[in-house]
C-alpha cells in the first residue's frame, strides 16, 4: 500500500490535525476496531488507496487530484443519492470534477462529529442547491424530493403531490415570501430539527 513512503511529515500532520480537529474519526470497514493513529493519517491512507500505485508518494498525493468516478466508488458514498452533489460542492477544480486530498479532508471534516451545526447547514444548503444559484427554488426542491424518494417511475411522487408538497414547504419556510428559500431561511428550518446534526454524518 505504499509503506513508509506514504507517511505524512509530522508538522503537516499537525497542521491538518489542527484544522480537522480529530473529527475525522473513521475506521476501515474490513478492520474490526479503529486503529490508534491520528484520524487525518487514516484519511490520507484511504485517499492513497484510490490513487494508482505509482502515484502514492506523499508529495504526489498532496498534489494529485482524483476523478469524481473514483470518489463515488467509495463504499460510504455509493448508496447516497446526493453523492454527486457532495463531490461537486467540495471540489475546487475549475471544472468541478476532481478532488484533491485537501478537498477530501474538507469533506470528511464537514461530515464529522465536530463540525458545528452552522457549517453543516451551510454545506447542506450548497448540496441541495442543484442549479448553484444561491437559493432553493421550485426546481431545486422538486429535484431534492426526487432524490429522497427514488428516481424511478414508480417511486416518484405524482405531479399534484409534488406541487402540493412544494407549496407546503414554501409556506412553512419561506418567511419573506419571495418564492425561494435562501440560506438564512434554510438554516432557520434546520435549527428547529435537533436530529439534523446527527444524521448529517458520514462515518467512514
Amino acid at each position: 500500500m505504499g509503506g513508509s513512503g506514504s507517511r505524512l511529515s509530522k508538522d503537516l500532520l499537525a497542521e491538518y490535525q489542527w484544522v480537522a480537529r480529530q473529527g475525522v474519526g473513521m475506521q476501515h470497514p474490513r478492520e474490526g476496531a479503529p486503529t490508534g493513529s491520528p484520524p487525518s493519517a487514516r484519511a490520507h491512507r484511504r485517499f492513497c488507496e484510490l490513487l494508482p500505485l505509482e502515484h502514492r508518494t506523499v508529495e504526489e498525493s498532496l498534489q494529485i487530484r482524483v476523478s469524481l468516478e473514483q470518489i463515488l466508488s467509495l463504499p460510504e458514498l455509493k448508496a447516497n443519492p446526493f453523492k454527486e452533489r457532495i463531490c461537486r460542492v467540495f471540489s475546487t477544480s475549475p471544472t468541478r470534477d476532481s478532488l484533491s486530498f485537501e478537498d477530501f479532508l474538507d469533506l470528511l471534516s464537514v461530515f464529522s462529529d465536530t463540525a458545528t451545526p452552522d457549517i453543516k447547514s451551510h454545506y447542506a444548503f450548497r448540496i441541495f442547491d442543484f442549479d448553484d444559484d444561491g437559493t432553493l427554488n421550485r426546481e431545486d426542491l422538486s429535484q431534492l424530493v426526487n432524490c429522497l424518494t427514488g428516481d424511478g417511475e414508480d417511486t416518484r411522487l405524482s405531479a399534484s403531490e409534488m406541487k402540493q408538497l412544494i407549496d407546503n414547504i414554501l409556506e412553512e419556510s419561506d418567511i419573506d415570501r419571495d418564492g425561494t428559500i435562501n440560506l438564512s431561511e434554510f438554516q432557520h428550518v434546520i435549527s428547529r430539527s435537533p436530529d439534523f446534526a446527527s444524521s448529517f454524518k458520514i462515518v467512514l
Binding site: 490535525q17 489542527w18 484544522v19 480537522a20 480537529r21 480529530q22 474490526g32 476496531a33 490508534g36 491520528p38 460510504e76 448508496a79 443519492p81 446526493f82 475546487t92 485537501e102 478537498d103 479532508l105 474538507d106 471534516s109 461530515f111 458545528t116 452552522d118 457549517i119 447542506a124 441541495f128 448553484d132 444559484d133 444561491g134 437559493t135 427554488n137 429522497l148 424518494t149 427514488g150 417511486t155 411522487l157 403531490e161 402540493q164 407546503n168 412553512e172 419556510s173 419573506d176 415570501r177 419571495d178 418564492g179 435562501n182 440560506l183 438564512s184 428550518v189 435549527s191 428547529r192 430539527s193 435537533p194 436530529d195 439534523f196 446527527s198 444524521s199 448529517f200 454524518k201 462515518v203
Partner: protein
Amino acid sequence: MAQTPAFIFNVPETPEDQGSQEPSPYDESEVHHSFHQLIQEQSQWAAEEGLELQQRVPEADTLGASGSGHQAFLGPEGVPDYSTATLRILASMPSRTIGRSRGAILSQYYNRTVRLRRRSSRPQLRGVGRSARPSLRLYDLELDPMAFQEEEKRILLVKELQGLTVAQRDHMLRGMPLSLAEKRSLREDSWIQKGKQRGPQGRRGLFSCCSRLRYACVLALHNLGLVLLSGLQALTPWRYALKQIGGQFGSSVLSYFLFLKTLLAFNALLLLPLLAFIVGVQAAFPPAPSGSVPAFTGLELLTGGGSFSHTVMYYGYYSNATLNQPCSPPLDGGQCTPEAGGLPYNMPLAYLFTMGVAFFITCITLVYSMSHSFGESYRVGSTSGVHAITVFCSWDYKVTQKWPSRLQQDNIRTQLKELLAEWQLQQGPQSVWGRLRQVAVLGLVWLLCLGTTLGCTMAVYAFSELMIKSPVSAEREWELLALPLVVCLLNLGAPYLYRCLAALERHDSPMLEVYVAICRNLILKMVILAILCYHWLGRRVGALKDQCWENFVGQELYRLMVMDFIFMLLDTLFGELVWRLISERKLKRKGKPEFDIARNVLELIYGQTLTWLGVLFAPLLPAMQIVKLLFLFYVKKTSLVANCRAPRRPWLASHMSTVFISLLCFPSFLGAAIFLCYAIWQVKPSSICGPFRTLNTMYEAGKVWVRHLEKAGPKVSWLPWIHRYLVENTFPIYLVSAVLLAVIYLNIQVVKGQRKVICLLREQISNEGEDKIFLINKLHSVYERKERSRVGRAHEAETPPTLLADEQDAR
C-alpha cells in the same frame, strides 16, 4: 441620526446583454451595487408617464396567482420571468451570495469577530450606523461605495483575528464555512503578523524564538490530547457494533441501544458507592454465622432464597454493630481498653447514608440528563414545519448499504405521502358527527384499556393474598415463583390486547398512536408494581412478624427480575425469530418483522424500576442488572440483525430519547424514591436481622447518631443544629418549594415573551420580503422599458431607408 448608505449605480450598456445566458454568482465582476439611481430614473419616467405606472400596479395584482399581489410577470409555469439583467442583479443579492462568495463570508465573519472583540467593552455609539433596515448593517462592507475588494476584506479579517485570544481565534476559524486551505492561510497570516508586530520592539530574534517554542509546546500537548482521546474512544464499548446498527437500521433503532448503554452507566454509578461502603466492608468483616447454612442447590438462581440468604446479597446479612471496633468491651461491664487497630465503622449509619447518597446522585444525574436532552429537542416558538423538516432533515447519511438505503427511500416516500394525506384531511371540513363519533370511539377504547388494567391489578392482588394465606414451606420453594410468573404473563399479554383495541380507533397522526400505546403500557406496569409494593410493605410485614421480611422482599424482587429476563428472552425468540421463519415459509411473505422500539424500551424501564425498588433490600441487585443488560445487548443485537427490519414509521430519534429519559425519571425513579422513603421513614424493621434490628424505623439510626454528636461537645454542634432546624423542621421545605415555583413561573413568562418577539420578527421579515419584491418588479419594468426603447430606436434606424424606398415607389 440615521445614516442612509450611499449608493452608486452603474448600469452597463453592453449590447450582448440580451444574448448571454443566465448569470451565476461566479460572475462577480459585473455586480450591481445599489438601486438608488435606478429608483430616481424610474420616478422621473413615472412623472412623464404617470398613468402607466398606476395601471401597472393593479395589473400586477391581478396577475398574482396567490392573490397576494406578490408574483408579477409570471411565466408559463408560475416562475417569475425576469430579464437577464434583472436576473444578474438578483443573483448578486446579499441573501443569495452569502452562501457562495468568499467575499461575503469573509465580511460576515469580520463583523462577527468585531462584535466578539467589542463584547467586553461598550460599543461606541458613533461607530454604529443605524439604518431603518437592520439587515443592511451586516453587509455594510459590501455596499460601501469604496467597494472593498476581496483581498482588502481578507486583510481586515486577519487584523481582527489578531485581536482575539488563541482559543477564540481557533473557535472562530472552526466555525467558518471556508475550505481547509483558506483557513490554514488565515491562521498563518494572523499568527505571522502578530509576530511581526512584536518585532520592531527590539529583541526580535528572542521573541520569535519564544513564540515558536510556545507554539511547539502547545502543538505537542494538543497531539498528546488527541492521542489520548482517540485511545479513549477506542475503549468505549461497542463502538463498532453501534456504528454497524446505525448504518443498517438507522438512528431510531440505534436510540434503543444507546438507551441501554445509558442504563448501564446509571447502574454502574449506583453500584460503585454500594460496593465501596457497604458490600465490601461487610464482606471483609463477616458476621458470626447464625444457625445452619443450607447447601447450594440450583434453584437458588431462580428463587434467590436458600443459601443466597446468608450472603452479602441481602439485607439480613448486614450487622447492626460497629465493625472493627478498636476497643472490645469486656464482659464484666468495665471500661474498654483501646487496642491498636483500624478505624471503627458504624454499619447501620453507613448503610443508611450510602443508600441515601447513591439515590441522590442518581437523581441529580437523571434530572440533569433529562433537562439536557429536553433542551436539545425543544425549541421555543417552533411551529410545526413538518414538511420542510422532513424533506431537509430526514435523510440519514450514516446509512451506507444499498438495500437499507432503498428502504430509507421507501420510508421517506411513505412518510411524505402520509403527511400530505394528513394535511388534506385537516383542510377538509370535519362534520360534527364525525368528530363526536371519533371522540366516542376514543373514550370507549380508553375505558376498555383501563378496565383491562384494573382487571390485571385485581388478579395480581387476589393472587398475592392467596400466597399470603397459604405460606410456602421450605421444600416447595419453587412455588414462590408463581407470583412473578403471573405478573410477567400479564405484562406480556395485556399489550397485545391493547394493540387489538387500538386498531379500532383512528388517530390523526401516527406519532400520537405510538405515544398513546406507550402511555397505556406504562400505566399497566406501574399500577401492577404499585400493588406489589403495597403487598410487600403493607401485608407481608405483618404476615412475617418473626421472620426477616426484608430478605423476603429482596428475594421477591430478585425473582421478578429473573422472570422478567427469561420472558424477555422467550419474547425475542418467539416474537422475532419464529415469526420470521413462519412468515417466510408458511405465508411466503418476504417482510421481516419490525423491531418494536416502544415495547422494548418499556421493558428496559420496567427492569430498571425493579432494580431501584429492590436496592435497599438487596444491595447487589444493580450488579445483577448490569449482567442482565450486557447479556441483553448481545441477544437483541443478534436477533435484530438476523430477524428484523427497521420500523416503517418515522421516529424522531432525539424526541424519543427525551421521552425515554423522562419516562425513566418520572414514573420510574420517582416511584422507587417514594417507596424507599416510605420504607425508611415509616416501616418498622424486623428485629432479628439486618443493620436496623433494634430501632423503630431505619431513619432512627441517623437520629441516634445526631444525639450522640450533641453529647460529644460544642465543637460539632453545628451538625445537630442543621439537623434540628433544616431537616426536621418543615419551614425550609416550604421555602424551597416556593422558590422553585417562582423560578418556574418566571421561566414560563420568559418563554411567552420570546414567542411574542418571534411573531413580531416574522411579520417584519415578511414585510421586508414585500419590499424586495416591489423593488425587483420595479427593476424589471425599468429594464423592460429600456429594452423596448432600444428596440424601438433600432427599428426607427431601419425604417427610414425602407420608407424612402416606399415613397419613391409611391411616386
